[in-house]
Structures are given as structure tokens and as C-alpha cells.
Symmetry: C2
Subunit: 374 residues, 2 copies
């Protein structure tokens, strides 16, 4: 068995749910869970300086192996001292395996038992990503947490297709585990697939848990299935994960998704939603969904979100934010992203506080009711 | 005569040149001159938050009447409390008159004695900008310093053309002066035109000075003429300007242009060069011109400019800046702009220090020699 490469301690559990607060210790610092990781695809959380990301309250970010492998290249990043130094983010970093990005390439990729063959979205060049290479790249980047290469089971998939996809993911997990350097100080998380089939998810948890990873992720969700189906899989699967390791729900999601998944015992989240929505002028507030380009904000001298303490909300009116967005100004991207990330960070703080007070069930009910009104 | 709307005091003069240090006091604070104003075209210095602009050392910025008139509209800005509050920049603001932007529209504009008729670059709508309207817009924006509407004399122009253009500018200057509200706390500067003709420039200074403006600008330069011709006009014309008022060289220029113009007694500058170059990955350093996308910076782990104290230079390598630029990341724009503005601000600090020490001639010689090597 490989050694555990991180320390994770559950600090509080909620009496009315499976929600829990924890402390995840990594070589680059501690992360209070439940935590949301802003996505820094190409080695930058789009439009934000790393100091700003930290000030907003983010303790860990996610970077994409696929993107950094293609450009500027993991060898270059390693030769310059690793990803933390390259991007000047000195907190924890989780890197994905590249599997999901390759899956998203559609016709530009082919999956074989050996690995995934794909064409670069940048220049069409051909590449082969294997479980061993995914570990090698992530070791070169020197992230705090690595993910095993997996196959994201498409939706919809028949039971047989999902079963066959799962067995590929399980064999790749075993190969990833073996590929990791014994001397590594990087954690490695296994990924539970199994499509929308409870039985396969259960089988996946058993097999992946037996490999003794540092943490466990639920993958292959939020890929087009109805919300209710995703929620059911999370509700059924999360309680089966080893309780003493972090539980990570990959690529999810909306504030509602997060609040519900925390209830099932999920500790870690990542999603492009706050950053991507920001760049499209879609802004999160508890009171209403703000589409900042709308004419109704033209003369609105109030703050974007009167409950928010971010730089954007403290200093600018909706009318100004609308002007920047309509005029195509770069500052619109920055101010919008800053707010949306802060909204997510405040949500995670509220979630942790509610669990700490043993009031998570009530918090969840109140939050979901308020969102229905928004 | 209208009252003087600002206080300007020459604090130091250089024994070997016409260079001078001064303090320009406005309703929104003091500006140490010689000063460079970053350009905030649409109510934002592109890609920078106003707090950042201030931290970089900028004391006054320039905003464009033409752009803000078209979008979001000066009436809207006035109703929201004026431009300072709208963009959350609480230092001094100089607004141009819109004349140069209208001139730049080429075939989309027509000049009549009454004013300029033009079509919006945004939606093709037709507008008429008169000297009176230019003052009205700038009063609505409530800038600290307004500029008279002028006609930028095209280059090349015959003597007769330049003379005729100048008389239009002079009549517009008189109309601007009359249009200004007596109760206004905003300064109004007159603009010296006259093309490349020394005689016309001299005549322009005499006529404009007689109108007793709060400050005087040289316009119609850096419009396509050879560098030497621009320098000659500045050398001949600047010494004729009233010594007790600020001298502003509009739309200029490169670091070399600024160093030479200060030598002639210019106090204020503005130019899109540092911000626009930054967005195209062209970065200013004293040692070399950095075109950040170049392959030579791919593995360069050193700072952009080892002499610079900005956030970009303190925290990121050339290799990372190249990666961000090549990958089309928004953060590239922000980090590059931040550096170029800081470069200009440091240059102005060095200029003021050299004048303060009575060493400007030596500074200028050393600086221009070092730029030839760069």
C-alpha cells in the first residue's frame, strides 16, 4: 500500500445530516472543508491575480493537466520550479488527470485499453494520454493532489456500456497507483465512475476503496443527466466512501448542487460556473440572478449584492458594471469574476458555520427555499 | 475674464533647461508635475481597477468625452453623481473635448463652423458636437479639467489650410470659454493648433493666451508628422506659453518624447501607448524592448524588468507572462498594463527628481543614450 500523502481530519459532523467539517493538510497549507476550488485552467484563475484569489478566501485551486500539458508543457513548468512557483500561487493545488477534457473533445479522441488518443484543440497535433503519463505530468507540475486518469462514462449509457467503462477506469486506477513515485509527497485520489447505475457505483466504491487512495472522487456526474438523477447517485454513493478520507464531487456545480451534496458528506468541489458565468455577465446573489447587461440596471446606482463584502460590491454600482460589460471592457471580467468567486467562498463559509453549529439541515432548507424565490 | 479654477505653482526650475516641477491643485487633489495621465477611455483604465491605478502612482487620469457621451451618456453619469463616483476614481480627472476622436473618424465626420457632425462608431447614429455641447458634456461628467473643442489640423496641411483650421479652433475656444458656467469649479484649458507652421503656432499662442484659460495645451501633434518636426514645434511653441499655467502636450508619447518635451517646459502628458502596447504584449523596460510572445522568453525565469518594483515584476517570470499572453489569458492584459503604467510612473518620478536636483540636462542625455542601446 502506498503511504498516505496528506492529513485529513473530520472536525465536526452534523447531527441531522451526513455533512461534515474537516481540515485537509497539504504540503502547501491547510484547506477547511467543505471547500470550493476555483478553476485555474491554464495556470490562472481567469482574469484574477493569484493574490486576489487568496484574498477572496480560496484556499485551494484546481488546474487542468490537459491544458498545461499542451501549453506551455509540463516539462517547462517543472524546469521553472513547478506550477506553484510558475503561477505564483503558493497555496494547495489539485490537478485533474486530463481525462474529462479529453472526453469533452468528442470526435477528436479515441479510447483504448492502453489510454486515450486525442488531437490537440490548439494545433490538431496527436497525443496519447495513459494513466502513467497522467501521473508523470502531474508529478512534473508538482500539484498537492493528483487525480487518476479515468474514463468519463457518457450519458446516456446502457448498463453494459457503463460496466465496461467502469472496468477500464478501475484498471487505469490500479495503473495510476503503481505509476506514482514512492517518494512522492503528492496525494493521489481515485475516481468512482459507474454512470447512473447504483449497483455499478457501489461496485466502483468497493474496488477503488480497496486500492487505498488518499481521497475519493465522484466522477461522471453533471454530464447531461437530469438533476434528480445526479442527486440520487450522490445520495447513494457518498455514504459508501471511506469516512476518513476527503470526498470530492468533480465539476459540480451550482450553489444549490453544492448545498445538497454537502448534506451527503461531500468535502470538495470545483466548477467553472462562477468564473465562466462572470465572463458572460451572469452574477450570483442570494436575492436574484443578475444578468448585468439588462437595461433594468442602466440607472441602478446600488451595489451588485448588498450582502457581499467583495471589492466589486463595495466600490461599484450595477450601472457601472453594466457599462463596463456592454462596452466590452476587460475590467468587467475581473470585477464580475471577483464577485462570483467571493459569492462561492461566502457560501462555503456559511456551510461550514452551519455544520459547526449543528444546524446544517435548517441552513439547507432555508437556502434552497430562498433560491426558489431568486 | 472667468476666474481661475485651479491652483498651479511652479516649485522648481532646472538651471540647464526649461524643465520645471510644479504642483497642480484640483478639487480632487494635487498632481505633481511633470505628470503622465493614464488614459481611461470609457471610464476605466483598460484592465486595471482604480485602486491599482492609484497604487501605481498615477495622480490624474484622462477620460474621453466622445466615448462617454456615446456610452453610457453624460446625462446618466451626471444622474449617478458624476464620473468620479461612477468609476470610483477619486483623484483628479481631465476630460478631452471629443475633438480628436471625431477627427479620427475620418469619413464619418464633417466639420462646419458650427461644430462637427459625425456618425457613432458604435451604431452609426448621427450626432453634432459643438464647442458648447463639449463643455456641457464635460460639466455633466464633472471632470477637474475640461478641454475646449478644437479642430485637429490634419497632417500634411498647406499653410492656408492650417491657418483656416486654426481660426476655427480659435473661434471655438472663445465659444467654449463663454459656454462655461461661471459657478463652475472645473478648470478649462485652451488648445494651441497651427499645424507644422511656427508662425501659426505663435499666432495661436497669442490668441489663446489672451483668452486667459486655466491651462494651455499643444494639440495636433503626433498625427503622422516626422518626429523631428513635432520636436521642433514643441521646442518653439512651449516657451511662448504663459509660464504660470500648466503646459499640456496632448496625446504624447513615447518615453523619449516625454523626456524631450519636459526639457521644453511641458508639465502634462497623456497617451494610450503604455496601455495599448501592454495589451499587444509590448513591454517597456530600460534595458530592452520586450515583445513578450517571442520564443526567447519561453524558458526565461527572470522578472520582466529587474529594475521595476511593480506587482508583475515582483511576482512573475517572463516565461509565465509569455504563457499567459500566448494562451490569450485576460490576466496577461492586466499584468502587462500594470507594468507599463508603472514604468511610465517611475519615469515621471525620475524626471521630477532630476529637475529637483537641478540635473535635468544630464538626466536627459543619459536617458536618451540608454534608449538608443535598448
Amino acid at each position: 500500500m502506498p503511504p498516505i500523502k496528506q492529513h485529513f481530519k473530520v472536525l465536526e459532523t452534523d447531527p441531522g445530516s451526513a455533512a461534515r467539517c474537516g481540515l485537509l493538510s497539504t504540503p502547501h497549507g491547510d484547506v477547511r472543508t467543505p471547500a470550493f476550488m476555483p478553476v485555474g485552467t491554464q495556470g490562472t484563475v481567469k482574469s484574477l491575480a493569484p493574490d486576489t484569489v487568496k484574498e477572496l478566501g480560496a484556499e485551494m485551486i484546481l488546474c487542468n493537466t490537459y491544458h498545461l500539458y499542451l501549453r506551455p508543457g509540463h516539462g517547462l513548468i517543472a524546469s521553472l520550479g513547478g506550477l506553484h512557483s510558475f503561477m505564483n500561487w503558493h497555496g494547495p493545488i489539485l490537478t485533474d488527470s486530463g481525462g474529462f477534457q479529453v472526453y469533452s473533445l468528442g470526435k477528436l479522441r479515441k479510447i483504448t485499453p492502453e489510454g486515450a488518443i486525442f488531437q490537440s484543440h490548439i494545433d490538431g497535433s496527436r497525443h496519447r494520454l495513459t494513466p502513467e503519463l497522467a501521473v508523470e505530468i502531474q508529478e512534473a507540475l508538482h500539484s498537492d493532489i493528483m487525480m487518476c486518469l479515468d474514463e468519463c462514462t457518457p450519458y446516456p449509457a446502457t448498463f453494459r456500456e457503463a460496466e465496461s467503462s467502469l472496468s477500464l477506469t478501475l484498471s487505469w486506477a490500479e495503473r495510476s497507483r503503481k505509476a506514482r513515485a514512492d517518494s512522492s509527497d503528492q496525494a493521489l485520489y481515485g475516481i468512482v465512475q459507474g454512470g447512473m447505475y447504483s449497483e455499478l457505483r457501489k461496485r466502483a466504491v468497493e474496488a477503488i476503496s480497496a486500492m487505498n487512495f488518499d481521497g475519493y472522487a465522484l466522477g461522471g456526474l453533471s454530464v447531461g443527466e437530469p438533476k434528480a438523477q445526479m442527486e440520487q447517485i450522490v445520495q447513494e454513493t457518498a455514504p459508501l466512501l471511506p469516512a476518513d478520507r476527503p470526498h470530492y464531487l468533480m465539476g459540480v456545480g451550482t450553489p444549490e448542487d453544492i448545498v445538497k451534496a454537502v448534506d451527503c458528506g461531500i468535502d470538495l468541489f470545483d466548477c467553472v460556473m462562477p468564473t465562466r458565468c462572470a465572463r458572460h455577465g451572469l452574477l450570483f446573489t442570494n436575492a436574484e440572478k443578475v444578468v448585468i447587461k439588462n437595461a433594468r440596471y442602466r440607472e441602478d446606482n446600488g451595489p451588485l449584492d448588498s450582502e457581499c463584502d467583495c471589492y466589486t460590491c463595495r466600490n461599484f454600482s450595477r450601472a457601472y458594471l453594466r457599462h463596463l460589460y456592454v462596452a466590452g471592457e476587460i475590467l468587467a471580467m475581473t470585477l464580475n469574476t471577483l464577485h462570483n468567486i467571493r459569492y462561492y467562498m461566502r457560501l462555503m463559509e456559511q456551510i461550514r458555520n452551519a455544520i459547526g453549529c449543528g444546524q446544517y439541515a435548517a441552513f439547507k432548507t432555508r437556502f434552497l427555499e430562498s433560491r426558489l424565490k431568486a
